[in-house]
């Protein structure tokens, strides 16, 4: 085959105008930067219970971001400011109904939460469509009304979550029902992306007039977007209830700001038509990691203000970076997000291992195979200062060699639809290493905590 044919094949595989890949550059970079910082500052994160509790905390935010995403794609600047109060509303009404004797079976609870979310969103969509008030005003009025009624329903935090949720909020293991909800929601969204409805939704979001003239039933599509948003809001409320395992009328309101920030961090356009599920997922995780990393520093009374400051600064910075994307795109012609992810994962894993690895125990704890695997790392005598330094430099050298190789693969393999075999090998190795690190670090951290 000639070079020309190769190029033609490449062009065929890479859809023209597909810029979703480059949009993930910033979220992925930020994710790993934050992950490394968090791992170095507080190795507890890299353990089974650390992951578990992080998952519990971040799940409502992820789902709230998905809920926001559905309506943002629909265009007209539909940033649903009421998403936070809505989560709070479902939470407090669920708690009050449970205390009034509503059935506590999971089926009833799920049905109630999803129906409440969908009902609210459908009413909003009907107002937007038929009363024709700007969506931002509708959501503003929803925000005020729901914030008020939440406190009326449940004046102060309290109450009990349904029985079956009791164990969800512990966050001691990675595989919890919460993780299942998040995975199913993400998978559901990815499947939804393959439907014609999603295409209609995107077209309506980017140009409503064009959508209308080309015969798309925009009324139905808009209502559909709100229904999906309502479903995710209901799921977010369930995760939120599991997290606090009680009712709280004011806490939910904070999710509005975090979810909008997460969405923007993930590269979505609030003008409509453009948002990616991976970006939103990463954005939500990034938001969590920012507050987690900051909480590891001790600012005393300044803590909340430093958090506020960095929140704002990161929000503005990530928005400004979206301006730089076209320029970056001109430089990098081929960019493959999965490969970039893998490349940074190696770096992140190295740092994480360094953070949680108990160097002192190594000769006894390691089996022969592990010793071989970690031979460069354990080269020097663990206790001596020079040995530690040597280990450090060897790790740096290892990373310095691995990263360029992966980057090279990243550029050369970007246009292809399937990845290099090397990537699968590296991914498998990484998962193995992570499991190993987690099983080790979990016990290590636990014993450390017992000592304290």
């Amino acid at each position: 085959m000639t070079d020309l044919a190769f190029e033609a094949a490449d062009a065929e595989q890479k859809r023209p105008g597909d810029t979703s890949g480059i949009g993930l550059l910033i979220p992925i970079s930020l994710l790993f930067a934050l992950l490394m910082l968090a791992a170095l500052r507080s190795p507890f994160l890299i353990s089974a219970s650390g992951f578990g509790s992080a998952m519990i905390v971040v799940a409502p935010l992820i789902l709230a971001t998905y809920a926001l995403m559905a309506t943002v794609i629909a265009g007209r600047g539909t940033v649903d400011l009421a998403i936070g109060p809505l989560i709070g509303f479902i939470n407090v009404s669920l708690i009050q109904l449970t205390s009034l004797g509503m059935s506590q079976s999971p089926f009833v609870v799920f049905a109630f939460c999803l129906l409440a979310g969908v009902a609210y969103q459908v009413i909003m969509s009907l107002i937007i469509i038929f009363v024709r008030v700007q969506p931002i005003i509708v959501s503003l009025s929803g925000y005020l009304a729901l914030t008020g009624i939440n406190i009326v329903i449940l004046p102060r935090p309290g109450g009990m979550a349904p029985q079956f949720m009791a164990s969800w909020g512990f966050g001691t293991s990675i595989f919890s029902p919460i993780l299942l909800i998040v995975v199913l929601a993400t998978a559901g969204w990815l499947l939804f992306k393959r439907t014609a409805f999603y295409t209609h939704l995107r077209l309506m979001g980017s140009d409503e007039r064009a959508a209308y003239t080309s015969g798309i039933p925009i009324t139905k599509v808009r209502i559909g977007a709100h229904v999906i948003s309502g479903i995710f809001a209901g799921l977010a409320a369930i995760c939120f209830t599991a997290l606090i395992s009680s009712g709280d009328p004011t806490q939910g309101t904070n999710y509005t700001l975090s979810a909008v920030t997460a969405l923007v961090l993930g590269g979505a356009s609030l003008a409509g038509g453009r948002a990616s599920v991976m970006g939103s997922l990463l954005g939500a995780v990034n938001i969590y990691l920012i507050s987690y990393s900051l909480s590891t520093f001790n600012f005393g009374t300044l803590q909340s203000y430093v958090t506020q400051l960095s929140y704002g600064a990161i929000l503005v910075a990530s928005l400004l970076l979206t301006l730089a994307l076209p320029h970056i795109q001109r430089r990098i012609h081929n960019f493959s997000p999965p490969l970039f992810f893998v490349a940074l994962s190696v770096l992140g894993l190295g740092v994480a291992l360094h953070a949680v690895f108990d160097y002192g125990d190594l000769p006894e704890a390691a089996t022969a195979a592990d010793a071989m695997l970690f031979a460069p790392l354990a080269f020097g005598e663990a206790a001596s200062a020079t040995g530690g330094l040597l280990t450090y430099w060897l790790a740096v050298a290892f990373i310095a060699i691995t990263i360029p190789v992966l980057l090279r693969m990243l550029v050369s393999g970007a246009g292809r639809s399937n990845l290099h075999v090397a990537v699968y090998v590296i991914l498998a190795a990484m998962i193995l290493l992570l499991t190993f690190a987690l099983s080790n670090a979990g016990s290590g951290v636990l014993s450390f905590m017992e000592v304290n």
């Binding site: 700007q134 931002i136 704002g312």
Partner: protein, 461 residues
């Protein structure tokens, strides 16, 4: 039929006489009421004159709306059934709406104890009359429809409030309503200008809080009070400039950019001001005499018993309204808001105006925050929080479109007054804060829906 044409028409003698008698009657009633309440004489005279002028102007304005219209052609003889049917077809929404209101009233009378008394009936009648009047007349107004409806809602709320709430129309309550309206109105100046360009400045509450704390901090350091005030104003303007510069290229997401800047500014201010002190979030110190006199409820202005902030708000409103209407800058702002491309064709710099409105917004937010220090006496970062939604609500309820190019500060003034009277009314009938918020949220929608509906998509193609 535009304003300019209407001005050219002379009113007939009889109409002018009626107007004169009407306004004189209203002014006399005002003066009598003022004397009865024992207010200061110069205030009574001033109010009387102002009422006379306003009533005469309103009469002229309303009367002119009707003069040039030819009488509608009379219907020919039609059968009764046909007439009924067409009547139903033309007025079905009004009839259905009235039916719903009547049912609501009946339900409330039956369920709520003590609801059914003479005052409620009278206030319901007033509300109904205002509603009918509003719908009847608002169709004749093209340009000032939203302000007309706003004024009617204001009048209705005020009369219902004074009917049902003890002491609602008393001098003290009106003064306190005006003071709060002045704070909100000053904070809304920038928001209105930004909205005219199609943006939204969500940093307003944070700048208010930061200015509040920052001024208290500067005063506690011993900086001369006038200098400190000036520094805060300039700092507010600089924050606004930062907003403008950062969001210029990201106008679709200006909402989020300004929110992020606001967050950062609030964080920085607090870190800077409480470094080394253990009272996080609030600052206490001596507030200069002139500042508290300017903003506190018991302040005096030129010997009269109201704080200067009300006067400042009135002056600022007049300047902004006139500037938007008659100055080149004002007209260019509208031109940009309506259509960027055509504005740039006639050499209007979008960048300069975008920066400009944000600087004004920041400066006025800082001004409000500094005045609020005089009102409260202690710095508190959270003092601006209610202004996040209140400024947007006032702009929107007034009738300025968030898409840009339509509206003005005069509309916002009406919006501010409506919101303030509504709040005062809800407080007066004894609702707790969360119920107030709930009703507030529900009421914003119909108020906006009265005149700020966007056209159907099929008309935009």
């Amino acid at each position: 039929m535009s304003m300019q044409d209407a001005n050219a028409v002379r009113m007939s003698l009889i109409l002018r006489l009626i107007g004169l008698v009407l306004s004189a009657g209203i002014a006399t009633a005002t003066v009598v009421l003022g004397v009865q309440q024992g207010m200061a004489l110069q205030l009574v005279i001033l109010t009387g004159l102002a009422t006379l002028a306003v009533a005469a102007w309103v009469w002229r304005f309303l009367a002119l709306q009707f003069i040039p219209r030819e009488n509608l052609s009379l219907n020919e003889d039609v059968p009764l059934a046909e007439e009924l049917r067409s009547g139903w077809k033309n007025h079905r929404y009004a009839i259905i709406g009235l039916g719903i209101l009547a049912t609501l009233f009946a339900i409330l009378s039956v369920t709520v104890n003590g609801f059914f008394n003479i005052y409620t009936i009278i206030s319901a009648a007033i509300l109904l009359a205002i509603l009918v009047l509003t719908f009847k007349f608002s169709r004749y107004m093209a340009q000032y429809r939203s302000s007309f409806i706003g004024l009617m809602v204001l009048a209705g709320l005020f009369s219902v409030g004074s009917m049902t709430v003890e002491g609602f129309a008393s001098g003290g309550n009106v003064k306190s309503m005006l003071v709060f309206a002045a704070f909100l109105g000053l904070a809304c100046v920038g928001q209105t200008l930004v909205a005219l360009l199609g943006g939204l400045d969500l940093s307003v509450p944070f700048v208010i809080g930061s200015a509040n704390v920052g001024l208290a901090y500067l005063l506690s350091l011993g900086v001369p009070s006038y200098l400190a005030f000036a520094i805060i104003l300039i700092a507010g303007g600089l924050v606004g400039l930062l907003n403008g510069v950062l969001s210029f290229k990201l106008q679709g997401q200006a909402l989020i950019v300004t929110l992020g800047v606001g967050f950062a500014i609030a964080g920085i201010t607090q870190i800077a001001t409480i470094l080394g002190s253990q009272y996080a979030g609030s600052l206490f110190g001596a507030v200069p005499e002139w500042l508290s006199n300017m903003a506190a409820m018991n302040g005096t202005t030129l010997g009269m018993k109201f704080p200067a902030v009300i006067l400042i708000w009135i002056i600022v409103s007049i300047i902004v309204i006139l500037a938007l209407r008659y100055s080149v800058y004002g007209r260019y702002l509208y031109a940009l808001g309506v259509n960027r491309t055509s504005a740039s064709r006639v050499d209007i710099s979008e960048r300069r105006y975008w920066y400009g409105v944000h600087v004004i917004s920041g400066a006025f937010a800082a001004f409000t925050g500094a005045l609020l220090l005089g009102w409260s006496g202690g710095g508190f970062i959270g003092i601006g929080d209610p202004y996040l939604f209140m400024t947007i609500a006032a702009v929107v309820v007034g009738g300025t479109s968030l898409l840009g190019g339509v509206g003005g500060y005069g509309f916002t003034v009406i919006g501010v007054l409506v919101l303030q009277v509504l709040t005062s009314f809800l407080v007066g009938i004894g609702l707790s804060f969360e119920w107030q918020q709930f009703i507030f949220g529900l009421l914003i929608l119909p108020m906006v829906a009265l005149y700020a509906r966007s056209p159907h998509i099929r008309t935009q193609i």
